[in-house]
Symmetry: C2
């Protein structure tokens, strides 16, 4: 049997196994799911073993473990290092899900569950592609798997693991499916990623909640102050006002920007899909540029005072926000975190106290389009989809791409099969059955072309 | 036995009864406490009956009932209409209470519980003062009690009740204890109150929560927009920017302001108590003025996006805030609510949708200081405390003072015995045993002086 047929015949098995994986709520950000995250690591280890790795192991870290597995068929053949993550984003707000986030359902040929796309679904394609090649004796490269459980909380321990295991992780290329393509008829390969600096801020006014009638107007309200501070972080052109923020941004050339803006994009469709009357962003840039090559500042969460039913006339003691900045090539996460902290602290009025806590960060990255691996990926897409993939710059962040480059001296190919509409990080996250199966097939074709091109 | 001795001898009984009242969590803002609110109304009715009213009744409204009771001893004697409320503020955040909010404890001669001061403690003083006068045959006026259960949610149904029961409520003066005095050695009588306009705003960006990496920078983030809108509501001098907001504010004369600023006030002590380095408020006014005679705008609550543990890179669909404005004489609550709504809607960028929901309002009020009732109250304080009370303007709102003036043509005397440090509306609300007992005594003296002065 050839690989293609194996994949076809095992469609239901591949799907059922993914659904089992999706049923484990591996939310790394919330300690109450700790045991589920650990259980998920065991699930991945066992999946790798069943698929045919020589050995699989749970590698302990200071946080959640990294699952490692490898199949070395011939030291002279090229080696592919697959990276993925088995942890998922929190599912809040639960009430906005049409079905429970950890009870996957199939509707309209899509799998609905937290992690369906990001990254359980996309990561598991690699395990099933590997299984399919093993089962049909068609594996043409050595394979190493490194699947972590802390991607959604900043991959704090991955860097240490990578530094300590350079030899074990030696490879020719890194392969990751954790990005999206333009649409199911327009395959694309991500060649640029934004970095991230994520912080939490706390503004304290009076030492206790006060009655807004007795003290209102005379004592700084930390919510009002927080709003003013956040508002001041952007000017009227939506430029970020933090001194030095743009200093190291590598501007794209006119030609690069033109090429980027040639990607298929329908602004009216985009607005309709989001039900917005107007887009909004940095002056002087298109929507594709704003979402791909420009740094941003978003408040991801805000809270303070009375948020229950009805009314409470409180002047609260504290207000909080989670703020993240997407970074572009040239910017360094820790530098931006420092610039933010310094600036945010400096603009606080004397009537409040401010605390800034860095959460996590990640470096922006660009991947080369002139490599053998890129050519092999391109050929795989062309064979699977009938057309060559378009190179795109993604707005999201996969900080480890930059880490792998620095530590392992390896480039990454980002073979993402998700869609922007998959609602990752949102209620009703889903992943198309087409994408899951097509992804598995395309991945096997990558191995074929990569081995051939390396001959 | 004279009234003073009766009060002394029944101190423990008066306290135990109040503790029983405080054990019922009558939170009117939260529907899960509905039965407790109703139970509290029954408690008040039964207390009035035991104290000696001719009849007490539970008067149904569209919301929570109003407890009414009266004792008419002689139609030729003056009639005092006592107003109070048996509902309390929500106790959130519970984790900041040193003891459970509905399990009252006595510490350092203070009663700690939600409602200890506002307004169960202060309202119940009137029931016990009445009981003391009845028990000692010293009642010198007719008394009517009207105790409502919706003060903390805007007294929506009180206006209807008052309009429909003008004859029943006919009186010579209204007596309320729901304000504070300067300190236990400096009695004061509140002669001015701020009004209130309370609203909830909702800002909607995209129709669903988005991944901030994929969409961040290109789609308006409703939290950022809400912050910008809130920030724009005040200028650099902390003047409120809503057009027309100050148009009808009655400015005080230089003499009135000077008189007001003569009240004992220690700015350093005030800052130390709140642990703030600087006060903050409208330029050109003192702290006492900012908190008493100037209108304000405070965000009482804000929420949106991910507020749990850890980090989530969400660009949320919605952000919310509860915003209230304290109003001063001249301003009308419904007019300010309209001005706010119009302005807030008008400043929304096209990239978001904005919804403004008025919660409740109340009118500002000033009470006369040249009336017989004021003179009687002043004499009562002087007899009880050994010194005449200082007239003050309070920042809080008791909207019904204005309602009573309009509908019943009655003035109010605000005999408040709380302290600003009682933490009403906050965790660890408390009320001094001294204040509770001294309040009961002072109230009985008011009746004595009011009858004498009316002769």
């Amino acid at each position: 049997m050839n690989t293609h047929n194996y994949i076809e015949q095992n469609k239901q098995k591949f799907l059922d196994e993914l659904l089992d994986l999706l049923r484990i709520p591996s939310v790394s950000a919330d300690s109450k799911f700790k045991n589920d995250v650990l259980k998920t690591a065991e699930f991945i280890k066992s999946s790798l073993e069943q698929a045919g790795v020589d050995k699989a192991e749970i590698c302990e870290t200071a946080g959640f473990p990294i699952v490692y597995g490898e199949k070395i068929i011939d030291k002279n053949l090229p080696t592919v290092l697959v990276y993925g993550h088995y942890d998922v984003q929190p599912a809040d707000p639960y009430e906005l899900w049409d079905s429970p986030p950890f009870e996957p359902v199939i509707k309209n040929d899509k799998i609905y569950a937290r992690g369906a796309c990001d990254d359980k679904g996309q990561m598991y394609m690699h395990v099933k592609a590997f299984e399919s090649m093993m089962a049909t004796n068609s594996l043409t490269c050595n394979v190493k798997f490194m699947v972590e459980g802390e991607e959604e909380v900043g991959s704090d321990n991955l860097g240490i693991f990578v530094k300590e295991n350079k030899e074990k992780l030696a490879a020719d290329i890194i392969l990751i499916s954790d990005t999206s393509m333009i649409d199911n008829n327009t395959p694309s390969l991500t060649v640029g990623l934004r970095g991230l600096s994520y912080l939490q801020v706390e503004v304290t006014g009076p030492n206790r909640d006060l009655h807004s009638g007795v003290y209102g107007g005379a004592v700084a309200n930390p919510i009002n102050v927080l709003c003013e501070m956040i508002a001041s972080l952007k000017d009227e052109n939506n430029h970020i006002t933090i001194p030095g923020f743009y200093d190291k941004v590598e501007e794209l050339t006119k030609e690069e920007r033109e090429a980027l803006n040639k990607a298929p994009f329908d602004l009216e469709e985009y607005k309709k899909d989001l039900d917005i009357e107007e887009t909004s962003g940095e002056k002087g840039y298109t929507t594709l540029e704003r979402a791909g090559i420009r740094p941003t500042l978003d408040v991801n969460g805000i809270w303070g005072g009375y948020t229950g039913e009805g009314a409470k006339t409180v002047l609260p003691s504290k207000a909080y926000a989670k703020i993240s900045m997407r970074l572009v090539p040239g910017q360094k996460s820790h530098e931006i975190t420092e610039l933010f902290t310094k600036h945010f602290t400096s603009i606080a009025p004397k009537s409040v106290k401010v605390k800034v806590t860095p959460h996590h960060g990640g470096e922006p990255a660009v991947t080369p389009t002139d490599s053998v691996a890129y050519a092999a990926a391109s050929a795989a897409y062309e064979e699977a989809f009938g057309k060559a993939p378009i190179p795109t710059r993604d707005g999201g962040s996969i900080p480890i791409v930059s880490l792998f480059k620095d530590e392992l001296k390896l480039n990454t190919v980002l073979m993402g099969f998700g869609l922007d509409s998959d609602a990752i990080h949102s209620p009703n996250e889903h992943y198309g059955l087409f994408n899951y199966m097509k992804g598995i097939e395309t991945i096997t074709l990558f191995y074929k072309h990569f081995a051939e091109m390396n001959k």
